[in-house]
């Protein structure tokens, strides 16, 4: 039981707890906050497993940028705060989760290669950067184009409908946000699902 192993297990427990809590929150804001903790833990785990550059990237990009964006959108999309909160039909989801987990565990432990104890190693950022731009420069370029495309798309999506929609109001295609179970509405969806 080396120090590294102890650290790993502690970090693992931390990540699991944080993720578990994040998943079961009703309020999205709480979930996001717990998730930030989970990502920080993941970054530490990356550090342990020999990827310091990636650990830094995790903190900056994931915990720093993405979670903040989600927070912004949560604030933007108010809805009716309580109503979209409740968690229903945990049943099928839990069943799926359990099944998936069982299959995953079986797959992992069937492979004899999973018993190999890892040896510690660190990928220094300098070497990692050189490696990346040496061999996979094309992939990097493509990823940057991907980001450009995403940027353009978001700008378009965020902008185009704004002026038309706010005057007309919500379109009548979908069932109005009056909650389920209103008998008088002639809606498409039926009870019982």
């Amino acid at each position: 039981m080396t120090l590294y192993a102890v650290t790993f297990y502690l970090l693992g427990i931390a990540i699991l707890t944080a993720t578990g809590l994040a998943v079961t929150r009703r309020q999205p804001v709480h979930a996001v906050l717990y998730l930030i903790v989970a990502f920080l833990g993941t970054a530490a785990l990356f550090f342990l497993l020999g990827a310091p550059l990636l650990a830094a990237f995790m903190v900056i990009i994931y915990a720093g940028a993405i979670m903040i964006v989600i927070l912004f959108i949560i604030m933007l999309v108010q809805g009716s705060p309580r109503e979209v909160g409740p968690l229903s039909d945990w049943g099928p989801a839990l069943l799926l989760g359990v099944v998936f987990l069982a299959v995953a565990v079986a797959t992992i432990f069937k492979d004899p290669g999973s018993r190999i104890v890892l040896q510690g190693a660190v990928a220094q950022p300098r070497d990692f950067g050189r490696f990346l731009f040496d061999r996979y420069w094309l992939a990097v370029e493509i990823v940057s184009i991907l980001l450009l495309v995403a940027l353009v798309a978001i700008l378009h999506l965020g902008k185009g409908r704004d002026t038309e929609e706010t005057e007309k109001g919500p379109s009548p295609h979908l069932s109005p946000p009056g909650g389920e179970g209103k008998d008088e509405e002639v809606s498409y969806h039926k009870e019982g699902h």
């Binding site: 990502f39 993941t42 809805g79 290669g113 999973s114 040896q119 510690g120 990346l132 999506l157």
Partner: protein, 101 residues
């Protein structure tokens, strides 16, 4: 000297399952997206472990790509959520049942 590979994969698997549960059990689109994020996180952990096992840096490069793609996808997803919210006033996926026969 650190841990058996299987344990790390097990950790990744559990995190993935939790993300899956979050994905399908919430009635909030944003929670769905958070579930996706969690799953990507698990995938990244698995890749790092594999990179360490074979001492190849491709694994870490791929984690970088996962990061980048995840960023793009989450922002796009959130833009779509906003758009849908503007259109219908709700972010409960159960309300979008036009496709139901």
């Amino acid at each position: 000297m650190i841990v058996p590979l299987g344990h790390i994969f097990l950790l990744a698997g559990i995190i993935f399952s939790m993300g899956l549960v979050c994905l399908v059990a919430h009635r909030n689109l944003i929670m769905t997206l958070i579930g996706v994020e969690v799953m990507m996180n698990a995938a990244a952990i698995a890749f790092i472990a594999a990179a360490l096992r074979w001492k190849l840096m491709e694994g870490q490069a791929f984690v970088l790509f996962i990061l980048a793609v995840s960023a793009a996808e989450i922002s796009l997803g959130l833009a779509l959520v906003v758009s849908v919210y503007r259109r219908t006033g709700s972010i409960d996926p159960d309300r979008y049942d036009i496709l139901k026969w």
